[in-house]
């Protein structure tokens, strides 16, 4: 029992070290993380099987939150249960947290310096561009027929012109999805729920940086 406890502790330590190192490399974006995790966890440590990476991508992409943090939680949980997930998430978040804190302190120190304000304005414009890029990329994967196009545009219209809270939209999406697919089945139409993997792969390189 004691030996097992020690093993468990060792795994937790190693999880911490690996994900702490991977944290800053999320500069490559959430999906660049996946390649890095594959290298560390599958190739070097042989902790996961190569095909488990596919599971990781699908869980990390469908749960709420960032792909990087979600992947860490997945690997941690697979290796060392709930404690492993908590340690991995803590480790991957810590470096970013510290960087944000430093930026924040610097930002407050220099916030009245006109040129710092100017730089932030420039970054603001670039962030708008990155949001548009994210919308284009996720749109390519999600808008595959007329119903999905209507859902997306209806969602934008509702957000722009009504005070509707986005929570209701997020709850409504799955309801609409299930209903549409059910109706399509009844009508005997083909009911595809995902784009073919091949179409999506091309977009994965930079898909949703910061996610």
């Amino acid at each position: 029992m004691k030996a097992r406890n020690k093993d468990h502790f060792n795994v937790l330590m190693q999880l911490f070290i690996i994900f702490f190192k991977l944290g800053p490399s999320t500069f490559g974006g959430g999906y660049a993380m996946i390649a890095a995790i594959e290298r560390e966890i599958v190739n070097k440590k042989a902790w996961l099987e190569p095909d488990e990476i596919g599971d990781m991508v699908s869980v990390a992409g469908s749960a709420p939150g960032g792909v990087a943090v979600n992947s860490a939680a997945f690997v941690g949980y697979k290796l060392a249960g709930v404690a492993g997930a908590a340690v991995a998430v803590f480790a991957i978040t810590l470096p970013t947290f510290l960087i944000v804190l430093i930026l924040s302190i610097l930002g407050m120190l220099f916030k009245d310096v006109p040129k710092v304000e100017a730089a932030l304005k420039g970054v603001h414009a670039a962030v708008v561009a990155l949001i548009i890029v994210a919308a284009v990329k996720i749109g390519k994967a999600s808008i595959m027929d007329i119903p999905t196009l209507l859902i997306a545009s209806g969602c934008v219209v509702l957000l722009l012109f009504t005070p509707l809270h986005s929570l209701y939209l997020i709850l409504g999406g799955p309801v609409a999805g299930v209903s549409i697919i059910a109706v399509k089945r009844v009508l005997g139409l083909s009911a595809q729920t995902e784009k073919k993997v091949k179409d999506q792969q091309a977009d994965l390189n930079y898909l949703e940086y910061y996610i």
Binding site: F27, G65, T93, V100, V123, A135
Partner: protein, 177 residues
């Protein structure tokens, strides 16, 4: 206040499907309603959040927490926004993988994904219009549009890394404004 920060970001974390961008507008709405920061301050915080690695929503949560309650506020907000991801990933890993091919699950995501797209488009509109402070015919607005379009071309056409684009646009801002 700490409790409020925690609950707010817990809620945001729970619905942050599709990652960071989809919930930016939601965070702004919630915290400006509470009167914690103004729309202008919020935009600066998001720009700052964009300069660090990691999810922009999580970084924004850290910054808002820090601006309201110092380091403790930052920690509490960060934990709040990440905790739902952690729990849901554990649940998904334990159960969802077995239901991956389930029609209900697939149809739900079929409907959810376009909603996320809509939320991100809205975030772009909202955040983009806010950046001009209402006036479109000004040096400032023209500069913002210029940097935004240049960034779009850099990322989409020339595949320049987003972080390099962020740094270049900071330089652009210093030159233009």
């Amino acid at each position: 206040m700490l409790g409020e920060l925690f609950v707010l970001f817990l809620k945001v974390g729970l619905i942050s499907f599709g990652g960071g961008y989809a919930v930016i507008a939601l965070i702004q709405r919630e915290i400006t309603e509470k009167g914690w920061v103004t729309a202008g301050q919020f935009q600066e915080l998001v720009a700052l959040a964009g300069m660090a690695p990691g999810s922009i929503a999580t970084n924004t949560a850290t910054l808002i927490g820090y601006s309201q309650m110092g380091v403790i506020g930052g920690i509490v907000s960060t934990i709040g926004i990440i905790l739902p991801s952690l729990l849901i990933v554990i649940l998904f890993t334990a159960f969802f993988l077995r239901m991956k091919s389930n029609t209900w699950v697939r149809s739900s995501f079929y409907g959810l994904r376009p909603i996320i797209t809509g939320l991100i488009i809205y975030a772009a509109i909202h955040f983009g219009i806010g950046s001009t402070n209402g006036s479109w015919v000004s040096w400032s607005a023209a500069g913002m549009i210029l940097i935004c379009v240049a960034s779009l071309i850099a990322v989409l056409k020339y595949k320049i890394h987003p972080f390099a684009v962020i740094l270049l646009s900071a330089v652009g801002g210093i030159v233009l404004f």
